[in-house]
C-alpha cells in the first residue's frame, strides 16, 4: 500500500493542467534505455501483514528485556526509561517537524534544544553546548576538528589515551586520515596501568589536543586536573569523553578545567536500539564557540517583545561557509536531544543522582562478589563507577559462551582491543540489574572455574 491521497480522476485532471497525457510523459529527460527498471523487490504488504512480519523479526532477537540478563556496557547501557519520555517524543508536533529554520513556527523545537543545551552544561560543568552530534564517537572526532580549526592547522599532534573507547579511537582515525596528524598514545598494547599523569610526557608544543575518557573505558575514575594543567602549560586543549550518568555523581570536566567535554547521550533516557540512533553531546568553553561545529540555539526576542529562540552563529555552518566550515555536519539528533532533556527534567536533581548511586553500589557489590571467586579478580585497583575489568583466568569468549547457555550476556571481551587482556571481561552493572541477577552471574562464573 502507499500513502498517496490522489484519486485517478484527480490525477487525470492534474495531468491535463500540466499539459501531458500520462505520468510516464513526465520522465522524458531520463535516458530511455534506463527508464523504469523492474525492481526485484517483494510485493507490497498491507499494514496488518507488515506489523506481523516486523513483530516476528523483533521476536527472533533475544533482548535484554525479559530474554537475557545482561552485564554488557562498553558504550551502550541498559537504563530505565521513564514512560513519559516516549510519550513526549511521540507527539507529531515534535517528531514530524523539520530543522527549525523558520523560528516563528518552530519555538517548540528551539526552546527544547535550548533547554537541552542548558541541561548538558549543568551536567558537564561546561559553558556552552551545541544541539548535538551523531554519537559520542563522532563528537570526539569533532573535538579534533575544533582543535584543528583553533590552531589553524599549525599544531599537528593529538594525544589519545589508550583507555578511550576503542571504537571512538577508530572513528577519530577514520575522520583524520589524510590530515597528516600524529595520533600519539592510540595503542591497545600500551601500559594500561599507567596514570593519566604519564600522558603528560607525550604533550608538546606541537600538540593541539589531548583526549581522555571519564570514567575511562575500564570504568576507572581519574582526576584529570593535573594532567589538564600540564597540557595547558604547553598550549594544548583537552577533551574529556564522559559518561553522562557518572557526571550526576562525580566531579565535572568543567571543574577539572577541560576545554571540551563530549560523550554519548544514550544513557540519558534513550533506548540502546542495537546501537543507534543515540546522540553525541558536545560542550566546551565559550571561547571556542565559533570553532565548534553543529547547530546552536540562542535566546533572543521577537518583534512583539516576547522571549524566543533562534538558531544562531549559523554562518559557521556548512550551508553558508561551505568548504571553509569546521565540519560538514548538518543534521543533529534533535528528537533524541529532546528525549534526553525530558529524561533529565523528570528525573531532576534527585533522580539523576539516585540512578548514578544505584549503578555505583550495584557495580561494587558485583565486583566484590566476583573477586571472591577463586582465580578471578579485578584487573585494576583504582576507584571505578559502574564498569570494571574482571580477570576470568581463561579466554573471555569461552566464559561468555558458557554464560550465554545460562541466559546471561557476560561482559565485553577485552582481548580484541587490548591483547594483554584476553582473559578479561568488562562488566557493566546498572540500576536494571537486581541483586538476584548479580548473584546468578556469580554462581555461573563460579561453575566456570570449576569446570
Amino acid at each position: 500500500m502507499t500513502y498517496i491521497p490522489i484519486s485517478l480522476k484527480e490525477r487525470d485532471a492534474m495531468l491535463t493542467t500540466i499539459g501531458v497525457k500520462t505520468l510516464d510523459d513526465l520522465f522524458k529527460d531520463v535516458p530511455v534505455k534506463h527508464r523504469f527498471p523492474k525492481l526485484n523487490l517483494p510485493p507490497a504488504l498491507t499494514e496488518m501483514e507488515v506489523a506481523a512480519e516486523l513483530a516476528d523479526i523483533a521476536a527472533s532477537n533475544e533482548s535484554v528485556h525479559g530474554d537475557l540478563i545482561s552485564f554488557l556496557g562498553a558504550g551502550a547501557y541498559h537504563h530505565y526509561i521513564p514512560s513519559v519520555v516516549d510519550h513526549i517524543l511521540r507527539r507529531g508536533e515534535f517528531y514530524t517537524a523539520y530543522t527549525p529554520y523558520q523560528p516563528e513556527i518552530s519555538q517548540g523545537t528551539l526552546q527544547g534544544i535550548f533547554e537541552y543545551q542548558s541541561l548538558m552544561t549543568t551536567l558537564t560543568g561546561m559553558e556552552v553546548s551545541n544541539a548535538s552530534h551523531y554519537d559520542g564517537a563522532t563528537a570526539a572526532a569533532e573535538a579534533v576538528n575544533l582543535a584543528w580549526a583553533q590552531f589553524r592547522g599549525k599544531r599537528k599532534k593529538v594525544v589519545i589515551s589508550p583507555t578511550v573507547h576503542p571504537q571512538y579511537r577508530a572513528v577519530i582515525r577514520t575522520y583524520t586520515q589524510g590530515m597528516e596528524l600524529e595520533l600519539a598514545g592510540d595503542d591497545g598494547n600500551a601500559d594500561l596501568d599507567s596514570s593519566p599523569e604519564e600522558l603528560k610526557s607525550m604533550v608538546d608544543e606541537n600538540t593541539m589536543l589531548v583526549i581522555v575518557q571519564y570514567p575511562d573505558f575500564f570504568g576507572r575514575i581519574h582526576d584529570y586536573t593535573k594532567m589538564i594543567e600540564a597540557a595547558h602549560s604547553k598550549g594544548a586543549l583537552v577533551c574529556i569523553v564522559a559518561n553522562p550518568t557518572a557526571l550526576a555523581l562525580l566531579k565535572t570536566p568543567g571543574e577539572m578545567d577541560a576545554d571540551i567535554c563530549v560523550g554519548d547521550g544514550q544513557p540519558l533516557g534513550l533506548p540502546m536500539w542495537y546501537g543507534g540512533p543515540s546522540l553525541g553531546f558536545f560542550t566546551t568553553k565559550k571561547t571556542y564557540v565559533h570553532k565548534m561545529a553543529g547547530r546552536l540555539v540562542g535566546e533572543t526576542v521577537d518583534g512583539r517583545g516576547q522571549r524566543a529562540y533562534v538558531l544562531t552563529l549559523t554562518a559557521r555552518e556548512q550551508h553558508i561557509k561551505r568548504e571553509r566550515a569546521t565540519s560538514n555536519i548538518c543534521s543533529n539528533e534533535g528528537l533524541l536531544a529532546l528525549g534526553a532533556a525530558v529524561y533529565m527534567s523528570v528525573l531532576g536533581k534527585t533522580g539523576m543522582r539516585q540512578v548514578a548511586e544505584l549503578c555505583y553500589h550495584k557495580a561494587h557489590y558485583a565486583a566484590e562478589q566476583l573477586s571472591k571467586i577463586k582465580g578471578m579478580g579485578l584487573c585494576f585497583t583504582e576507584p571505578f563507577f559502574h564498569e570494571f575489568a574482571l580477570c576470568v583466568d581463561k579466554p573471555a569468549e569461552e566464559v561468555n559462551a558458557h554464560l550465554l547457555e545460562h541466559g546471561i550476556i557476560g561482559g565485553y571481551a577485552l582481548g580484541t582491543d587490548y591483547p594483554a587482556l584476553k582473559n578479561h571481561l568488562l562488566i557493566a552493572v546498572t540500576e536494571m540489574n537486581t541483586k538476584e541477577e548479580i548473584d546468578s552471574l556469580v554462581d555461573v562464573l563460579s561453575e566456570v572455574n570449576h569446570d
Binding site: 493542467t17 523492474k38 533482548s63 508536533e93 552544561t121 551523531y134 542495537y274 561557509k321 548538518c330
Partner: protein, 502 residues
C-alpha cells in the same frame, strides 16, 4: 543579558524547565538499592547538581505547551524544497519500538540478534536493488555523514592505485553546502562547475576542469533546481574519462524510485537519505540515516562493518548473519552499526509496505504534484529554469518594481497556515523559493497552497506591508537574530536565589 537596562524585560510565553523548577519536587523515583552500599569516592564527588526539580505533570504540561509552538507534517502542509517532508506512516513508529529492537545491545553475541542482522542484511539488498549499486553500508548517521564516507572512499580508491596527485573535487554551483564542506573537511580542493541555461551541468566548463588531478564529481540528480540533468550519462563519461569517480548526492532520490537507478547511468557511489526518501520522520532536525551504495570496484573500501552471511543456511536452517570487514576499509564512521532503530527499521517497514509498484508510484506522484504546482504558479512567479521538473522546482520570490523579497513571501505563507518553501537556496536563483510538494498531498491541498501564493503575489503589489510585517497570526513574530548572535545567551541555569525559593 546585556544592553537591556532601558528596555522592558521580554514577555515570557513559556517558562524554561529551569524557571519551572521548585526545590524538593521530583518526577521519578527509583527503588532503594537491594545490595549493600559502598562508600562513595569522596574526593571525586561533585559539589552540587543544579538540575531542575519538577513533578511529572509539570514536565508533561511544559513539553505539551512547547509542542503547540511547532509546525509539523502531522499538522499541515510542509513543501520544504530539498527536504522531502512527506507524511510519516504511523505504523513505522510502532515497528521501530518493538521491544526486540529497543532492548538489544549493539555488542550482543550475533546468535542472539539474528532478527536485527537479517533485517539489516535485507535492507542492504533492497537498497542495492533500488539504486543499482553492488554493495551498501548502513553505518552513516545522516546524509552529510554519508558524503564524508563517500569522499573518503573516493580518495582511498585513488590512493590504493598509487594515484596520489588527485586533489580536486568538482562540484556544481547549485550543490548543497554539505558537498563542498564534506570535501573540504578531508582537505580536497573544490572546483565549482557552473550550470548552463537549461539548468544542466555546463559541459564545456566541466571538460575544462577535467584532468588527472580530479578525484571526482559530486552531483545531485535531479539537481537542486528539481531538474534531471539531460546529459547525465555524458557528465559521468567525462569524469570517468579523466579517471575520476562520480558521487551521487541522494538527497533527491524521492524522484527516482523505479524511475531510474543511479548506478545504471554511471554513478559510482551515492548516499541515501532514509529520512527523506523512505519516510523516516525528521524529528525537528534528526536523527537522520545516510547509507552509502557503491559499485563493484569500490566495495572493498566501505567502512566496517558490513552485514554479511557468515554461515550459509540450507533448507532446514536459515543462514547466520554477522559482520564483515571490507578488505581495504576506510575504517569506522561511528560507534556500533548505524541508526538501526530510528532509521533502518522504519525504512524496512516502508519499503516492505510499498513493494516495487508502490515505490514507483511514490516517485511518479511526487513528480506529478511538483509539475502540477509549477503549472499553477508559473504565470504568477518567474521560474528561471522552466521545463518539466522532477519532484521539486525553484521559483523567484520577487516582483518587478516591488521591494517584497522571498523572505517576506515565506513569512506571509505562515499567515495562511502553510510552512514556507526553502528560501535563498539554491544560490544560483535570485530570491529562490524552492518548492517540493511530495507525493503525500492531495489536490485540494496543492490548490489551496497555489491559491495562497497567487493571493500573496497580489498582496505584494497592493499591500506590501502585509508581507513585510508577516507573520501576524502566529504566536511568535520575526526574530531579532542580530541580538541572538551578539548577546550569545546559549543556555540558562537555576536562578541564583533558587535555594530560598518557596
Amino acid at each position: 543579558m546585556i544592553n537591556t537596562t532601558e528596555k522592558a524585560s521580554p514577555k515570557i510565553v513559556e517558562p524554561t524547565i529551569f524557571d519551572l523548577s521548585s526545590p524538593g519536587r521530583t518526577g521519578v523515583t527509583f527503588p532503594e538499592p537491594d545490595v549493600p552500599r559502598t562508600e562513595l569516592p569522596k574526593s571525586m564527588l561533585r559539589a552540587d547538581l543544579p538540575l531542575p526539580e519538577l513533578a511529572e505533570v509539570d514536565v508533561v504540561r511544559h513539553y505539551m505547551h512547547l509542542s503547540k509552538f511547532n509546525y509539523s507534517v502531522d499538522g499541515g502542509y510542509y513543501p520544504l524544497g530539498s527536504c522531502t517532508m512527506k507524511y510519516n506512516p504511523k505504523i513505522d513508529e510502532d515497528t521501530c519500538r518493538l521491544p526486540g529492537f529497543l532492548f538489544t545491545h549493539p555488542l550482543q553475541p550475533i546468535e542472539t540478534v539474528q532478527g536485527n542482522l537479517a533485517l539489516m542484511y535485507q535492507l542492504q539488498e533492497w537498497l542495492k536493488e533500488i539504486s543499482g549499486f553492488a554493495a551498501v553500508t548502513l553505518q552513516p548517521a545522516a546524509g552529510a555523514h554519508g558524503e564524508l564516507t563517500g569522499v573518503l572512499i573516493m580518495r582511498a580508491y585513488h590512493k590504493s592505485r598509487g594515484d596520489t596527485k588527485r586533489v580536486k573535487m568538482l562540484i556544481p554551483d547549485s550543490a548543497h553546502g554539505t558537498n563542498p564542506a564534506s570535501s573540504g573537511m578531508i582537505g580536497l580542493q573544490i572546483v565549482q562547475i557552473p550550470s548552463d541555461a537549461r539548468g544542466n551541468i555546463d559541459l564545456k566548463a566541466l571538460k575544462e576542469h577535467c584532468d588527472d588531478t580530479v578525484v571526482g564529481m559530486m552531483l545531485t540528480n535531479p539537481n537542486t533546481l528539481g531538474l534531471f540533468d539531460e546529459h547525465v550519462e555524458e557528465v559521468c563519461k567525462i569524469i570517468h574519462d579523466c579517471g575520476g569517480l562520480m558521487y551521487g548526492d541522494g538527497a533527491n532520490l524521492n524522484a527516482l524510485l523505479g524511475i531510474v537507478r543511479p548506478a545504471d547511468v554511471g554513478f559510482d557511489l551515492m548516499h541515501f537519505n532514509l529520512h527523506k526518501t523512505f519516510a523516516v520522520p525528521h524529528g525537528g532536525g534528526g536523527p537522520g540515516s545516510g547509507p552509502v551504495g557503491v559499485n563493484e570496484r569500490l566495495a572493498d573500501f566501505l567502512p566496517e562493518p558490513i552485514i554479511g552471511i557468515v554461515e550459509e543456511g540450507d533448507d532446514e536452517t536459515p543462514p547466520l548473519f554477522g559482520f564483515r570487514k571490507p578488505a581495504k576499509s576506510i575504517g569506522r564512521m561511528k560507534a556500533f552499526h548505524g541508526h538501526f532503530g530510528g532509521g533502518m527499521v522504519r525504512s524496512y517497514t516502508y519499503i516492505a509496505m510499498h513493494g516495487p509498484a508502490g515505490l514507483k508510484d511514490v516517485s511518479q506522484y511526487a513528480v506529478l504534484n511538483a509539475n502540477y504546482l509549477l503549472a499553477r504558479l508559473r504565470n504568477t512567479y518567474h521560474v528561471p529554469f522552466d521545463r518539466i521538473c522532477m519532484h521539486e522546482f525553484v521559483a523567484e520570490g520577487q516582483f518587478a518594481g516591488s521591494d517584497v523579497r522571498a523572505l517576506d513571501i515565506a513569512k506571509r505563507l505562515m499567515d495562511y497556515n502553510f510552512h514556507p518553501p526553502t528560501n535563498y537556496f539554491p544560490m544560483i536563483v535570485h530570491e529562490a523559493l524552492m518548492i517540493e510538494p511530495t507525493e503525500t498531498e492531495n489536490k485540494d491541498t496543492l490548490d489551496a497552497f497555489a491559491d495562497a501564493l497567487i493571493k500573496i503575489a497580489e498582496e505584494a503589489k497592493k499591500q506590501p506591508e502585509l508581507l513585510h510585517n508577516a507573520p501576524s497570526t502566529t504566536q511568535f513574530g520575526r526574530m531579532d537574530e542580530v541580538k541572538a548572535a551578539r548577546d550569545l545567551v546559549l543556555c540558562c541555569w537555576l536562578p541564583e536565589d533558587y535555594a530560598t525559593k518557596d
